[in-house]
């Protein structure tokens, strides 16, 4: 699946989050079905998400939201955008 809908490469996404660090969700640039599914799981704008371990090779990766861990593939995680934080790598 290819969800490259953003085209904006400066905005950080879940896929850019370092292991063990957290950030706040800003937007899900995914087809409606997919984003609604993720939102019911707790990936709503404003939610705090923590990145965890990944499969060998870095994909898929575990993200914890509201205390529950989910594995997401990179194609999806890279379209879940984060609220920019000052001092984050850019």
């Amino acid at each position: 699946m290819n969800f490259n809908l953003s085209g904006d490469e400066k905005v950080l996404s879940l896929a850019d989050l370092a292991e063990g660090s957290s950030a706040t969700l800003a937007d899900l640039r995914l087809p409606q079905n997919v984003s609604e599914h993720l939102m019911w799981l707790g990936f709503v704008p404003g939610a705090k998400v923590t990145a965890g371990q990944s499969a060998p090779g870095g994909n898929p990766r575990v993200y914890t939201v509201a205390g529950v861990a989910f594995a997401l593939r990179r194609d999806v995680a890279s379209q879940v955008l984060l609220v920019p934080v000052d001092g984050a790598c850019g």
Partner: protein
């Protein structure tokens, strides 16, 4: 057990339905909320598995077994995250709850099961559920964990917010469940929630959930760090993969090394039973039908039971402990190259033993299209029933010489090539299916990783009973019918009341009839008869050829090899191996695919596809090799 004292309260207001006895109660909740554990606790073994008409979604129905409750049927609906009917599971749940599912009465009440230790996210589902207007009891499961690890919740306050009774329970310990009969006796009306959000806005539902969670004074428990610590090992960059491989090999070893002797021992028992039946039934046609038809057919399926139960024990431990989800994460990349996801891994591995348990193991795949694609390719993996056929033909035609000294012999290489051939066919078929008729429509791979838990004996036991029963009953009945038909065809027509021998039977006639079709593959009518009878099960061809050649296949396999040499050219022998690598010669698998997909469409497609593939591949093999080797 003070923690789990039920705190069911009467909702403020609400229409009273006094005098109404509730008869159908739906159990719903998100995956991993302990819903199934609760259902098993409430119904015990008095439950049955059923499919809703026209869908692959399966559900359990059981009678509620609680003091003071009678005639209440409990329906266990699939685990869902929302009531927006995007997935098949959710659509089914919504249709059942609205009373739109044919054959299923509209539930009189709902038991909503939520995990109290991660209430925040789970409460969002309560919004669409209470909005349905059905009398609802919210069961906050794992109440023991909440209390034990310093969590807190004002159940009464939460009940006020939701406008419906709430009880803190522990399904695994059976605590607090007396709230259920009290709720059912209370004639509770529709929920009257405070400030229900706009259901179409998912963020609004989550905001609402956070708000009422706060008003109910929820404090999350400080759960032990086991899950985090174990994930650091099981998903470690190096050790994660190593442990994964070790687990895979252990499961494989369990099914083959432990399961095979068990199956062999079981076979001895079955044969003795067969001899006993032989003694009871008077000689004649009836004896042949009962012993050679019915019992041989049924026991050829039953013999897989020990291995199937072992495999499901292993899968049960992996799944209930939480490791299976981690294994799926690790296997995901490899499975993605086939167009599938990590959850397809265990079924495909199991298929090397037998496609029947593999098809049943696909139940862990939530995405229905992925599940059907996996079901369709499992019989292409080299199962153990192909081994006797491969062994016989390879021994007859491949010289026992070394290709790589001390490492690889010609026969082993031939066997290995057949395994590879099956895998490649499965790989290509999966790719084709997943990019055409079974393409997933915007369903991302999202896998919840539950906390690690100790599997309970009760849950494992129920799973084994459930799977074992499904296998024996459903596959057994189809096998029984097919075996009887095939057995009948080998004996008909009757001559003066005596059955034909196989050479002059209907089956032999069909063998002659299909000879023009199989002649280009290099097969004569005898092989044709073997191909027909082996539709029941692959290894049956050996017994059939043995009968046709008039030799005992067990004691005289060398003479059988000699006979095969007369009937097959080397090119045709390879074509026969290729045919068996691809052909769907297994009624048990077809029966179980029919059962698991709840439709004849998929087994029919599978049978046609694999038979055509087998014919084309065997044709090409015979034509090319017979030209090369002349």
């Amino acid at each position: 057990m003070s923690c789990c004292t039920p705190t069911a309260v009467k909702p403020a207001g609400g229409v009273s339905r006094a005098g109404h006895t509730m008869r159908t109660v739906a159990v719903i909740g998100p995956p991993n909320s302990g819903k199934t554990t609760l259902f098993n606790r409430l119904t015990g073994l008095r439950q049955k598995v059923a499919n809703f008409p026209g869908v692959t979604v399966e559900h359990h129905i059981g009678n509620l077994v609680l003091d003071g409750v009678e005639n209440v049927a409990l329906i266990d609906l699939p685990g869902i995250y929302s009531l927006s009917p995007k997935s098949e599971d959710e659509a089914v749940a919504v249709r059942v709850l609205r009373g739109e599912m044919p054959g299923t009465p509209r539930p009189d009440a709902v038991l909503l099961v939520l995990d109290s230790t991660s209430l925040g996210r789970q409460l969002a589902l309560a919004a669409p559920v209470v909005a349905l207007g059905l009398p609802t009891l919210v069961l906050l499961n794992m109440g023991d964990m909440l209390e034990k690890h310093g969590g807190h919740l004002d159940v009464l306050a939460l009940a006020r917010q939701l406008g419906t009774p709430v009880a803190l329970v522990s399904a695994s310990r059976g605590e607090g469940l007396d709230a259920i009969p009290r709720f059912l006796a209370s004639a509770a009306g529709p929920p009257t929630p405070i400030d229900l959000p706009v259901l179409e806005s998912i963020p609004a539902c989550h905001a609402w959930a956070r708000k009422i969670e706060k008003r109910a004074g929820f404090r999350a428990p400080a759960l032990p760090p086991w899950t985090r610590k174990l994930d650091a090992v099981f998903l470690h960059k190096v050790w994660g993969g190593v442990i994964f491989l070790a687990v895979v090999i252990a499961v494989f070893q369990l099914v083959f090394t432990v399961g095979q002797p068990l199956s062999n021992a079981f076979q001895v028992v079955l044969e003795q039973a067969g001899r006993a039946i032989f003694g009871w039934v008077p000689p004649g046609v009836l004896r042949t039908v009962v012993v050679n038809g019915a019992w041989k057919g049924v026991s050829s399926v039953l013999v897989f039971l020990p291995q199937i139960l072992l495999l499901f024990l292993a899968i049960g431990i992996l799944e209930d402990s939480g490791y299976l989800a981690r294994a799926a994460v690790i296997a995901d990349r490899a499975m993605a190259t086939m167009g599938l996801n990590g959850k397809a891994f265990i079924p495909l591995l199991s298929a090397y033993a037998c496609a029947v348990p593999a098809v049943m193991a696909t139940r862990t795949i939530e995405d229905k299209r992925d599940r059907i694609a996996t079901i369709l390719i499992t019989p292409l993996m080299t199962c153990s029933a192909r081994l006797p056929v491969y062994t016989l033909v390879i021994a007859a035609f491949i010289p026992d010489r070394s290709l790589v000294p001390y490492f690889l012999g010609a026969r082993a290489a031939a066997m290995l090539s057949l395994y590879l051939l099956g895998f490649l066919a499965a790989f290509v078929t999966a790719r084709v299916l997943k990019s055409s008729i079974l393409k997933s429509r915007d369903v991302p791979f999202v896998l919840e990783l539950p906390s690690y838990r100790w599997p309970t004996v009760q849950s494992l036991g129920l799973r084994l009973v459930d799977r074992g029963r499904a296998f024996v009953v459903r596959a057994g009945t189809v096998i029984l019918i097919v075996s009887l038909v095939l057995c009948g065809l080998t004996m008909l027509p009757l001559h003066n009341g005596h059955p034909s021998d196989i050479q002059s039977s209907v089956v032999a006639k069909v063998g002659h009839l299909i000879e023009p079709v199989i002649a280009p593959l290099g097969f004569n009518w005898k092989i044709g008869v073997g191909l027909i009878t082996s539709i029941a099960a692959r290894e049956v061809i050996i017994g059939t050829l043995g009968t046709l050649y008039g030799v005992d296949p067990d004691s005289q396999s060398s003479s059988m090899q000699a006979m095969l040499h007369k009937d097959l050219t080397p090119a045709a022998a390879v074509a026969l191996l290729v045919f068996f690598a691809f052909a769907m010669q297994c009624t048990s698998t077809l029966a179980i695919v029919r059962r698991e997909t709840n439709s004849w469409k998929w087994p029919a497609l599978q049978f046609s596809y694999m038979t055509i593939l087998a014919w084309v591949a065997a044709f090409a093999t015979n034509q090319i090799l017979s030209r090369l080797w002349h």
